[in-house]
């Protein structure tokens, strides 16, 4: 494998030494371009108290093209489909090389706090969301407690 670009080394170092609050990201030992991410659900959102696993991969062209990010934990969200794929502008057309892994992860966390059912990826979820938001939030909470690891539980384990 080609040598890891300095940019990736620097970003990785900073992610570990100065982590984003509520998000941890570690590179895999076998492939330093692949990261395992654990993200806390934002406070006062239906995903509160849940910890969501994601995988993040930096393609060869990074930072000229965006990282590939996917949710591993099931999540009830209009912009995230059942395969965990995320519909987010900065992961696609609005990517810029000046963005970083940390900024991308923060954007995803912000997406959890403010779902956008008008630009859906999971159509059925988006419809439910638009029809009866309170009920949809209820389902999202239920899924969070069912599938996501408990924030407090993981905290006590450490």
């Amino acid at each position: 494998m080609a040598a890891l670009p300095r940019r990736i080394i620097k970003e990785t170092e900073r992610l570990i030494s100065d982590p984003v609050p509520g998000i941890t990201a570690y590179p895999d030992e076998s492939n330093l371009r692949a990261f395992t991410v654990a993200m806390d659900g934002p406070d006062s959102s239906p995903y509160e108290h849940g910890v969501f696993d994601l995988e993040l991969y930096l393609p060869d062209d990074y930072p000229m093209c965006p990282p590939k990010v996917r949710f591993l934990t099931r999540i009830y969200h209009p912009n995230i489909d059942k395969l965990g794929r995320i519909c987010l502008d900065v992961l696609k057309d609005n990517w810029s090389p000046a963005l970083q892994i940390r900024t991308i992860l923060l954007s995803i966390q912000a997406l959890l706090a403010s779902p956008n059912p008008d630009d859906p990826l999971a159509n059925d979820v988006a419809e439910d969301w638009k029809k009866d938001e309170a009920k949809a939030i209820g389902v999202a909470k239920e899924w969070t407690s069912k599938y996501a690891k408990s924030h407090t539980a993981s905290g006590s384990a450490e």
Partner: protein, 458 residues
Amino acid sequence: MDFDEVLMMLHHCKWQQEELMDRFYDNREKLLADCGINKSNDTVCGFNHVSSFSCSICCEDYSAVETFSLSCGHEFCINCYGSYVRTEVTLGNLIRCMIPSCNLSIPHMVTHGEYSHNVLLKAATISHISGRKVNYKWCPAPDCDGLVHLLKARKTGQSRLEDVNEFEELVDSESADLQSIPIVLCPRDHEFCYACQYENHLPCTCLLVKRWIKKCNDDSETVNWIDANTRACPSCTASIEKNGGCNHMTCSTCKHQFCWICLGEWSLHGTNYFRCNSFSSDMKEQIGEQKKVKRESLQRYLHYYKRFALHESSMKGDIKTLDKVHQKMSIFMEEQSKTNPNILSWIDVQFLQDAFRALTSGRKTLKWAYCFGFYLQKGNYADVFEQIQEYLSRSVEDLSKIFEQIIHKDNRGKSTAIIMNQKLDIMNLSSLITKRRKTLMECASSGLADGLLKLEML
């Protein structure tokens, strides 16, 4: 406003001149900001050679490096900017500064440094076109990058094409209205049908072309081989390939024994193996009516297909001949212009160009007329159509022959003389071809419209 800025504004407004004008006079400052044009800042955008620079994209620390920045002052090393531009240029959008909150755009001219020509403009054009597929079509001719922009669908006679979207439907429509078939001409003189993007297939409709091509693709190779390598069993018409030397054949399907040479019944040959004089015309009648029909439909297809294919290959041959004639003529004209420039001008040989065009389009029409003929129901009017086709065929062959003579090796050195001598013939024939083509089209078009000609969708 300089040229680059206007280009950027047009690019931002998706090349809609009117929209640009409106926005420009409505709120000029906002438009400039949206386009990413900075008029106020004095910092010049451009390339710099700097010592000790740390690029925030690749995170490398350089002791000496070339950098680029727009007037926003966001400076990155040339490697990063270069690969950023190379990635972005394929999208066809204006390329903005890499900092997401900074909206400034890179002027078209600057991207020239990266490329020898305006790749950004080309990419922008392509993305513009692919967003408007209905209004634009690439010329389907090989190696032609001509583009046709449909401004307005023509409304003639009974055709009701009011919306260009209807062309998509036309391809599959059963309608036999030849007037509505949108034949267009690309900037390089290639004629094609805007609806199905095939060459000028008149007098056939798009649907006919589609079926014919499919039929030919499905059948032609097999049929050609069968035709060349097999014979039909005189009893059951099964196709038989001779697999040995002996001419005493036994059909594997119906066990009929016959002679390969004369296709007559073997028992009539008696013991005289190679004497096939026993063939008589009443042998043919032994073939049952029903079996005949089966073979006939194949024969009928073959008849039309062979002629269709013949004209297609003749067309290629013609193009080669015409190229040679054109070359000879060019050499001749060059010599002429050196020795006595006042005698001949290009206008005097313009008739050749017209003749070239008449010949190729005549062939094309003939070719498709055979496809048309295949689907045409028999009738008096169909005979009229075929008669007109025959006339056209004759004049096309005559003209083709003249050109053939011109480049014939026996006539080396005399070719220009022949051209000038035959000038009148060439001109007459090309106008005759044009007229007969028109008559053929009119015959097909009005015949279909009045119900005199009927198409059978086999």
